[in-house]
Amino acid sequence: MTTQLDSTATEPVRPARRRRRLPDTAALAVVLVALAIFFSTQSPFYLTPNNLLNILVNAAVIGIIAAPGTLLLVAGQFDLSVGSGAAFIGVVMAWSATQWGIPTAVLLALAAGLVIGMVNGFAVTVLGINALITTLATLAILRGLGQVIAGGQTLLLSGFGDLGNARPFLDIPVPVLILVAVVVVMALVMRFTVFGRSMYAIGANPVAARLAGIRTRTMIFGGFLLSGLAVSVGGLILVSQLGAASPNAAMGLELSVVTAVILGGASLAGGRGTILGTVLGVLILGTLNNGLTLMNIDSFWQDVARGVLLLAAVGFDQLRLRFLSDK
């Protein structure tokens, strides 16, 4: 399958096989290291353990949600409802905690995530509605419902700070531990399980997947379910970190997730992408944000710099491809 939406679509007929020793993600790792070196020359604080931990903590929610996001994109699907979904989960959590206490609220929040996943999955696989439209619609619905439940206010939630802030192990905050766990599990799922492989097959050629006996609908439904679950975990972490739930939280998170996943090498046309790539994408974006702040750059110029560096990073990746390709 040609990757139709990639610019590589206008490229050589067959993606010539690349030299094996250098995986696709190597260039991204180089970009990340280059950024790190650059920022450490610009700010003495960049390379401190605390700061690196900061980057990880801030990348955690995006990374946790981007993991199943990668799986979905690999199958040629999207979930744009993740941002407002995470905010909605936070509101559900904070609101139900005041009604029924924290344990019940956590269960409700997790259930809400699954329901979000089910609704998206149902609309896409059963009703047959395009994933982009479906999740843009649920994006609006969840944002609205969150606002309605919260009455447009930020809801306070105390006594639920551990998930976001505790450091049970080696002084590493829980969100980072969860991120690592999610990433490792998802990487294994994508690489070694029937489910993961089926998602690749569906993305590569949905028709052939169906004819090979893969239950395409069930699999895609499962992908949305996982995404919903990740959203509920991400939403809970967010609300725990802030001690409060705002229905406006996580605005634009969906775009960060898609950017990270695509940056990590997944193709909008499906069939391509890895968790490792996505993690590198998340870290590159996180490093950019953190580094530019450390450099104390004016907020408007930060936007400009972020855009330029993003282009430079991907441009570098493209150069590498050309350099290494056999054409």
Binding site: N51, N54, T154, L156, N165, L238, G243, L294
Partner: protein, 302 residues
């Protein structure tokens, strides 16, 4: 690096002090003016100011606080969106004095600088009420509140104040004439939604409009103009950003604006934080002046 020359600032010398400033979101014109004045004052005082834009997102503000902790700041000026999340943000930041701007940052807030959103809103609404009382005997065909519900508490304070200010003059609002419109806080959002709303107010000659900020009122007047009905709209806004100056002076239907004087925030916040860091006692609340600006008194202030 800043030299230690005394620049005559009242609050004393800020040299070698490192202050972190969390901006609410520089993309908001009002906030940008606040940020500029804080930067300018910091420079004048010789303070090294670390800037971090929270982009109207409490989670980003939290990251800013962590960042400042890493960089070892001596004090923080915190202007972040969510009062409710303040406790966590305080906990994430370093244990240094905090000056809050416009939005309370308890428990670590030592000084609160800035506006009283409710009062500012009240002043605007009251002025509009007075205008309607004097000219139309408090008769109006519709009362439209241009809001940004997504702004949470600030929205409630500002629009709530404006409505109550109007009611304080003209009595309780007639519910059938009241409309709350979400203009998203932007000029184009205000334009679209007010345009639609105005269409539904066919024949209305006296539409009273209170707006959370200048941009949405600008948008509302643009929509009225497009329908040839700018004469039917009477509005007040809050902020008195430079973009409103022209209308305040020249548009008879732009009744006026509550000024927040964002360009003066730095003069209040920077000395406060320096004094706090130096262990001096400072008043807990430093309110900015709220003045209702209209064509008659514009020249006095700008």
């Amino acid at each position: 690096s800043p030299s230690s020359t005394d620049n005559g600032n009242d609050a004393g010398d800020g040299a070698s002090l490192k202050v972190g400033y969390i901006s609410l979101g520089d993309s908001v014109p009002f906030v940008k003016l606040v940020s500029d004045s804080i930067k300018a004052e910091a420079e004048a005082a010789g303070v090294e100011l670390l800037f971090c834009d929270s982009q109207l997102d409490a989670a980003k503000a939290l990251a800013c606080a962590q960042n400042f902790k890493t960089q070892g700041v001596d004090g923080i000026i915190n202007f972040q969106v969510d009062e409710t999340a303040a406790e966590s943000i305080c906990a994430a930041g370093p244990d240094v004095p905090v000056v809050a701007i416009d939005i309370h940052q308890r428990p670590c807030e030592k000084v609160f600088v800035g506006a009283d959103n409710y009062t500012a809103g009240f002043i605007a609404g009251e002025a509009l009420g007075t205008y309607f009382q004097e000219n139309f005997d408090c008769e109006y065909d519709a009362f439209v509140s241009m809001e940004q519900p997504a702004a949470g508490q600030v929205n409630l304070d500002r629009t709530g104040g404006a409505i109550e200010g109007f009611e304080s003059v003209c009595g309780a609002l007639d519910d059938s004439k009241y409309r709350s419109v979400d203009g998203g806080g932007t000029i184009d959002g205000g334009n679209t939604t007010f345009g639609d709303t105005l269409t539904a107010l066919t024949g209305a000659q006296r539409v009273a409009v209170v707006s959370l900020n200048d941009d949405m009122l600008l948008g509302a007047f643009a929509a009225a103009r497009a329908q040839g009905r700018e004469g039917a709209v009477y509005g007040v806004a809050q902020g008195a950003d430079p973009s409103s100056f022209d209308d305040i002076q020249n548009n008879p239907n732009w009744i006026g604006d509550t000024a927040y004087f964002p360009e003066r925030y730095g003069e209040l916040a920077i000395p406060s934080i320096i004094s706090l860091i130096n262990g001096e006692t400072v008043p807990e609340n430093v309110f900015t002046e709220h003045v209702f600006i209209d064509a008659s008194n514009f020249a006095e202030f700008y």
